[in-house]
């Protein structure tokens, strides 16, 4: 197996060993879908109309949760230094983390989205437009997460800083993804996510190298 594959497998098995890492964003996503009906009222028509937006905002907020531990654990126990000293390119490391996060965050999200849409009374048939966008969106959100995770490595900001960095950059994904009925929106969401995923490993790799000072 190639180094890249091994790195992804390592990240995934670590995620399996620490279930909190992927369960927490999932729970958060469902909690957003549970909270909004209380805030805006239980009227079924209104909820169904707002559902795509609620699911997307939930996914965006949930993607902020893993950011603070993405590279911090590996950096604290020295794994990051070990890998970089061995000559593994920081970009490879970042790209592997991106793929692992997409699998570990995006796939569970895809399973949770039908449950959340059930709670909001969103028609099941419409999900087939929403879910592909959400899966692509999870790739874009994961890309932003690895950038945010690497540039805040060693910073004293916490969740507020991460939100401030990610949310403005995630707006195009949110706009394209949450209007699944618009023609062309899905394609634009996928294109944006792919562009972010192409750029993010380089930005994150450079930041990882800079973080070792």
């Amino acid at each position: 197996m190639s180094l890249f594959g091994k790195l992804i497998r390592r990240d995934l098995s670590l995620m399996a060993a620490r279930p909190g890492e992927w369960l927490m964003p999932l729970a958060f996503f469902l909690l957003v879908a549970l909270l909004l009906p209380f805030a805006i009222g239980p009227e079924p028509g209104l909820l169904a109309r707002l559902a795509p937006g609620i699911l997307w905002v939930g996914a965006l907020l949930a993607s902020l949760i893993p950011v603070s531990t993405l590279f911090a654990i590996d950096s604290a126990d020295g794994t990051l230094d070990q890998l970089l000293v061995r000559g593994v390119a920081a970009e490879t490391l970042a790209a592997a983390r991106l793929i692992a996060l997409w699998l570990g965050f995006g796939l569970p999200l895809l399973l949770a989205a039908p449950v959340a849409s059930l709670m909001l009374g969103y028609p099941f048939g419409a999900l087939r437009h929403l879910l592909p966008g959400l899966l692509a969106g999870a790739l874009g959100l994961s890309a932003l997460a690895i950038v945010a995770g690497s540039v805040t490595l060693g910073a004293r900001g916490g969740a507020g800083l991460v939100a401030l960095l990610v949310i403005p950059l995630a707006i195009p994904l949110l706009l394209f993804g949450s209007s699944p009925a618009e023609p062309g929106a899905l394609g634009l969401a996928v294109a944006t996510a792919l562009l972010l995923a192409a750029v993010a490993p380089f930005a994150a790799g450079a930041a990882l190298r800079a973080s070792r000072g």
Binding site: V147, G154, A155, G157, L161, I167, P168, A207
Partner: protein, 245 residues
């Protein structure tokens, strides 16, 4: 005087001397042009046939918007050259530009809001251009926060630089996406090919824009000098501590 060699300016001390000379030459004409531009715009230019006197806020709003955007581009270019050539002054100028640009974006948002109330009947609409300027403002805040929340200053500057560069790639997409999403704002009236604004309104706008530009440059230079001085003070304190210890 011969044109200063740009490589010679890479030396912070030489840059410091150069900037000290240059600052008043930017600041005073900047304030002067801004004063003349605003005077002509606010009192002498004709009122708009549709918006009346309300249009006068344009002389502040439009230049602020231009240089908030231009400042972000400049900041990203500085970040890129800091990354490629490891130039210490380029990294410092990221830190010098960010708050000035954020302030220009804030001026643009506030004046736009004041303009929007009488002409659109509301302080804020989720219009494409308004929203993308708000996002630009947030990107500036993100860069500033990232600089200050790193214990190690040099590292904070580097990290903020990466963020600024990623932001530049995303900025056109943000602009395109929100305009595709919703647009009420009038399209640009001034293009390279010519302008649809009456010359009596265009002249004060250009004067005020030039004033804003010089002011922007002067503020950035003043901040650069402050930052270099701060760095030197830190170094001196370190040397003293080393001698004492």
């Amino acid at each position: 005087m011969a044109a200063p060699d740009l490589h010679a300016l890479a030396n912070p001390l030489r840059f410091q001397r150069f900037a000290t000379v240059l600052t008043p030459w930017l600041l005073l004409p900047g304030l002067g042009l801004l004063g003349i531009g605003l005077w002509r715009g606010l009192f002498l230019a004709p009122p708009d046939y549709l918006q009346g006197d309300m249009v006068r806020i344009m002389y502040v709003h439009v230049p602020a918007a231009w240089f908030a955007l231009g400042g972000y581009l400049g900041m990203a270019i500085a970040a890129l050259s800091a990354l490629v050539w490891k130039h210490p002054l380029a990294a410092l100028s990221v830190r010098a530009i960010a708050p000035v640009g954020a302030m220009f974006a804030a001026i643009c948002l506030i004046t736009g809001s004041i303009w929007g109330k009488p002409s659109w009947g509301t302080w804020w609409v989720w219009d494409g251009r308004l929203t993308s300027m708000l996002v630009l403002f947030l990107l500036y805040l993100g860069v500033i926060a990232l600089i200050h929340l790193h214990e190690d200053r040099a590292r904070g500057l580097k990290m903020a630089g990466f963020l600024a560069i990623v932001g530049t790639i995303n900025l056109p997409i943000i602009k395109f996406s929100v305009e595709w999403w919703n647009t009420l704002h009038q399209p640009a009236s001034i293009r390279v090919s010519g302008s649809s604004i009456h010359p009596e309104m265009l002249a004060p706008l250009m004067l005020s824009a030039l004033g804003f530009l010089l002011l922007f440059a002067a503020l950035v230079l003043i901040r650069m000098r402050t930052l270099i001085a701060e760095q030197r003070l830190d170094m001196r304190a370190l040397r003293r501590a080393a001698r004492a210890g």
